[in-house]
Symmetry: C2
Subunit: 339 residues, 2 copies
Amino acid sequence: MAAGIYDVARRAGVSVATVSRSYTVPEAVREATRERVLRTAAELGYQPNRAARGLITGRTGNVGVIVPDLANPYFQGVLKGAQAQAREADYAVFVADGQESAAEEEALIGAMTKQVDGILLCSSRLEPSALAGLESAPAVVLLNRRIDGLSTVTVDSGDGMRQAMAHLAELGHRRCAFLAGPRRSWSNQQRLRGLRAAAKAAHAEIVTIGPVAPQFEGGVNAAEQVLASDVTAVLAYNDLVAAGMLSRLAQLGVEVPAQLSVLGFDDIPLAAMLTPALTTVSAPTVQAGAAAVDALLSRLEQPDAPPTAQQLAATLVVRETTGLPRAGHSLHLTNQGAV
Amino acid sequence: MAAGIYDVARRAGVSVATVSRSYTVPEAVREATRERVLRTAAELGYQPNRAARGLITGRTGNVGVIVPDLANPYFQGVLKGAQAQAREADYAVFVADGQESAAEEEALIGAMTKQVDGILLCSSRLEPSALAGLESAPAVVLLNRRIDGLSTVTVDSGDGMRQAMAHLAELGHRRCAFLAGPRRSWSNQQRLRGLRAAAKAAHAEIVTIGPVAPQFEGGVNAAEQVLASDVTAVLAYNDLVAAGMLSRLAQLGVEVPAQLSVLGFDDIPLAAMLTPALTTVSAPTVQAGAAAVDALLSRLEQPDAPPTAQQLAATLVVRETTGLPRAGHSLHLTNQGAV
DNA sequence: ATGAAAGCGCTAACAT
DNA sequence: ATGTTAGCGCTTTCAT
């Protein structure tokens, strides 16, 4: 069997209290003693049992990460960053997939609560009222969502959109489409707001299309509508939508960026892998995941400190899907509907 | 504070044992009593503390999933499937990122061991000897790796390669390149073996290039070498490599599939999003993750049952990057090295 | 600086 | 069918 604290204590000729202290309050035990204890522990392959420890300290050493969809590449970066940061601080991480459902998310929070010290809720699908009720129990940090009373980490997507629009305006675009994401999504609202403000400043016109499903298919399905709207550029809700758009445009024989400029949002790895490579606004997902865990852990250190609201910068990454607007004529489709 | 079992017991007018039994051996308590207990528990918002339970039962109700790289889309599917299946059985899942390092992986296993009932090791970077030493402690299931004495879930990638080669042969390709993955990788060996056998059967010739990094860049960097090798088709180690290949080929002005056919492996979501869409061998990642957790859980039920070795079928998905071989002339590069 | 002993919240014998 | 009680492996007063 695995060695327990008593085995180590006996073998090292000390009491269990000393063994325990060697780990938790090292400075309270004489160096020679501690060394002997640790060496003995290593020999026996002893590791303190976290569950037993948690029972008495009230801390589990775990954090939970809940995302709406584990298959979404956006959350992959977040998870990677969160995991790395947690492990750094010697925390283990539970993951759970909310399946894009508020109810499931709530159930997961409930199930997780007792097993973690804190929960990182990513792009929560919960109602603001449900979120507001989370101020207690384990610490909670929100990613991509802002609610009073909770610590949050957000990406300045409004400014990201401003950069995107400024880029388009500089190229000469004056009439652009925005392929909107889910209407109630916080991120969508931020992006649209930032875009509208920037468009106004640039004396450009925005036609909003959608909402479309924030997936590849959403972009595929919206392509015709975009073409019909007589714009010279389209800003998609996210990279997945932009990718779908690009795919359908290629089928239709529309050249990007010669005939239409396309922008994404998020800069998931896919963006750089497309041909032409997608110009997009980079949201620092890995960094955001790490920052959120940071916020969570410091909340655990100082439960009474006021909640923090960190905002990360988004940065435009110009690649190959944006260019000068086509001359003042509308689009001719050469390859209507071909596969 | 959160209610404990004693609070529930007192309020329901029963002993703690009855409360406990209402959860763990419901049939051993009179229905009326159990109902009352459960109702009381609900009123108090009581939920059994899993850590305390685990301390005595020796079971944590957790499983761990270790992947070499959380940012790799392949493992995203695996994780999604594993998580769903685990939750189904009311298990929580720990994730950890091995950072492509055998040492880190080993450290993670050590750190996790005490906190989980079983570990799912995905595409482990560990030496066979290290793996063989894992037969004890928590249950272990291997994904994409086969070792005697351990339960495994693998994808029949040899047969996947056979399908791919058969498809190419039918189109008329007789000289194809294989962009090899890491030489020591189990998956790479399986794929190469399957490919060689199928090529022999089809009287086709395989030129092996690489090993290349199993990433987008690996494909980008290998493109020139592939072009120089005078093949009419190239089978990449995985979709990421194929995507890099495609990207570079487009830059070089090589038309796919007219001048060169390209195949990937895995069928990660990216494959369908590329233009032209990638023909690839679909490895059922989500299903594999779920099957592996299944294997893990049944191992927990019956620790003495012999280890199982499940093999999942791979299926060729023909999309747009494969076609007839170009006529018998070599490739002319029209756009050498352009961006 | 170290040890003895009392629990943390729960389950599993063992009673009744 | 239900209650009593002894721990699970550890941390933490309180002594020494």
